[in-house]
Symmetry: C2
Subunit: 381 residues, 2 copies
Amino acid sequence: MVLGQDRPMRLDSGVELGPFRLAYRTYGTLNADKSNAVLVCHALTGDQYVAERHPVTGKPGWWELMVGPGRPLDPDRYFIICSNVIGGCLGSEGPKETNPATGQPWGLSFPVITIADMVRAQALLVDSFGIDRLFCVIGGSMGGMQVLQWAVSYPERVANAVPIATAARHSAQNIAFHEVGRQAIMADPDWAGGDYLSRGSKPTRGLAVARMAAHVTYLSETALHRKFGRNLQDRKAVTFGFDADFQVESYLRHQGITFVERFDANSYLYITRAMDYFDLAAEHGGVLANAFRVPGPGGVPKATPVRFCLVSFSSDWLFPTSESRAIVHALNAVAANVSFVEINTDKGHDSFLLDVPEFYQVVRGFLDGQAGAAGLKRRGA
Amino acid sequence: MVLGQDRPMRLDSGVELGPFRLAYRTYGTLNADKSNAVLVCHALTGDQYVAERHPVTGKPGWWELMVGPGRPLDPDRYFIICSNVIGGCLGSEGPKETNPATGQPWGLSFPVITIADMVRAQALLVDSFGIDRLFCVIGGSMGGMQVLQWAVSYPERVANAVPIATAARHSAQNIAFHEVGRQAIMADPDWAGGDYLSRGSKPTRGLAVARMAAHVTYLSETALHRKFGRNLQDRKAVTFGFDADFQVESYLRHQGITFVERFDANSYLYITRAMDYFDLAAEHGGVLANAFRVPGPGGVPKATPVRFCLVSFSSDWLFPTSESRAIVHALNAVAANVSFVEINTDKGHDSFLLDVPEFYQVVRGFLDGQAGAAGLKRRGA
C-alpha cells in the first residue's frame, strides 16, 4: 500500500515523508458497518505475518496463538490488520528501501521515526479501508507502546485498547540495553557507516551480537535455568575452550545467526531508537494522566472514551509489572475504563508470544465481552 | 613473583603451567607468627591495585573503601595481599604475556583456567610468604567465587571467609551475558582469531561492546533511573539521530572506551570462561553441602572449620540474594559457622565497590570480632 500520496506525512522530527509504502496483511472480512476491525501492532523485530508462514524463515506466524480460527482474535468475527512498522524491513518504508529521490537505499538518510510516526502511518492505512473506528488495537512490548499511542493520538478511533507487557516510557535500563545493541552493530566494519547495502556487505556479526544481548533480556532467569541450566552441549565435560560448551551458549548463537537472515541492521537502529524516544507523559507536561484526558463539554477535560485491558507478566524484568501499574494508576486518575491483569508465569518478557494459556484466556474474555456488547457476530452466526 | 619453578602447576584442564608469573601488591606488615594475613580476591576486571593508584588509569585503588588506614582492612593490623589472577592482564601469566616456549604472546594458546586454578596459584604465592593459614580471604563477585573455592580447596588454611555478592555456581543467565561479551569480542575483525598482539591490532570495538553489555548488569534499574533517568545529554530535545541523546548512552560509551585502555580482550575471554565453569556443587556429587565437609575423626565427615560471613545486596540481580542464601543453606546443613547479611541498597551488583556504609560496617564488625578473638593487635597497640 502506498500512502501519503496526496500530501506527505509530517514526522515528529519535522521531516515530511511521502509517498511511502506500508506493507500489511489482513485476516477475516470487514463487516458492512466496518465495526469489526482489529489492528495488531508488532514488537521490535516482529512483522506483518501474524498468522501465516513467514516468507523468509518459513516459520509459522508470530502470533498464531492469538490470531486464527478458534483463537481470541478469530478471523470469523474480526477483520484483523497488521502492518510492518515504518522503519521496518519487511516491505514498509525504511532504511532498507530505495529512496525515490536518489535511487539509492535510504540507509541512514532515512528520517529517524517515533512510535507516534508508526501510528500515524497505520492511521493512514486504516483510513484507506474507510474504517473510522477500530474495534480494538492490540500488541505487546513495542506493540503495546503503539497501542497506548493510538489511544492517546486517536481516542475517538479506538474502542478497545490492549497494551501488553509494555510501558508508557522506555526506562534508562532499556535504553542502555538498546544502546549496547546499536553499538554492536555500528562496531561492525561491514556496517560501513550505514552504507552497507550500497557496498554489498552486511554487518551480520554486529547484528547477531545485538540480537543475542537483547534475547537474554526477553527471558527470565528462571526460564533460562529451566530450559538450559548449566547443561552441557552434546558433551559430558567442559572442553576448556571457547566453543559453545553450555546449551545456553548454542541457543544464543543460534538466535543471533537466524536473526540476521531476516532482519536489517539499520532497521534495528531505527526501531530501537523509536522505542527509546517513547515517553507519553513527556508530551503531556510530565503527567501521564493528562495523556488520557480528552476535551469534554464546555472545554472541561474528561476521561478518554477508550476501554483498556492491560496485561503484564510476573517474570518480565524488561517491562515489569510496575510499568503497567503506572499506566493503570494514570488511567484511574482520570476515571478511565481500565482492567488490568498480571499473569503469573516464569517465561519472562516473551510470555506474550508463548503458550501461556491464562494470558490468552484473559484477552479472550475481554474481547468476547466487548464484542458481545458491540453486537459483533461471527460469520454465519 | 615467579611461581611453579620447582614443578609446574597442574591446571584443571590437565595442562601443566610453569614457571609462571603472578603479580601482586601487599599492604601492611606480616606479624611474627604470620597470623595476620588477609587475601583479597578481585573481580572479573579487577586487579592487584586494591588501595593505591592504578598504574594505567591513574585512578585510586578499586577497594580503598575497604582497605586502608581506618578502613575495615587496616594495614596497621593486617598484612593484606592481592594478586592479579592468572589469566589476567596486569602482570600475571595470561594470554597477553609471552609464552616462554615460543617467544610469542600466548594468545589463545594460553590454557583455559578455572577459579580453582586461580586459587591454586594464590596458594603458591601464600606459601612463598611462609604463611600456613590466612586470617581471612575476602572478595566480591568473582572474588567471592575465589573465596568459596579457597574455603573448599584449603579449609585448614582459611580462618575466615567473606564471600560477597557471589554464587556457588554461575547461572544460565550469567553464562548468557558472558557469551554475549565473548561474541562481541570475537566478532571484531581486529581480534584476528586471538592473534591481535602478534599482528599489532586490538579489538577495541568488540571489547568496548562487551564491557557496555556487562556494565548494564552491574547496576540496578533503580540506580540507573536515579543516576540518569531519561535525561538528555547537553541538549533540551532529542536530536532524531544516533548520537548519544540520553545521558545513560554517553555513560555507557564512556565505560566502553575507558575499559579498553586498561584491559586485554583475550583476558576477558579467559576470565569470563573461568566464571562460567564455576560450579562448586558439581565437584561434590551435585550436593553443595558436601563441598563444606572435611574428614573428621574416624573418617566421619565434619563441618569445615572455616568461619563464613556472607553479604548480598538487595538490588543485585546478577548475583541475587537467593544465590547467597543457597550457600548459607548448604553451610547450615553441615552445621558450619556462618553469618549472613543482605544489605538493603538500590546500587545493584557493584554495591560492594561503592559507598554503602552499612556494608563496610558489617564487614568491619565481623573482622574486628574475629581479630579480637585471635588476638591480632594493631601496630603500636
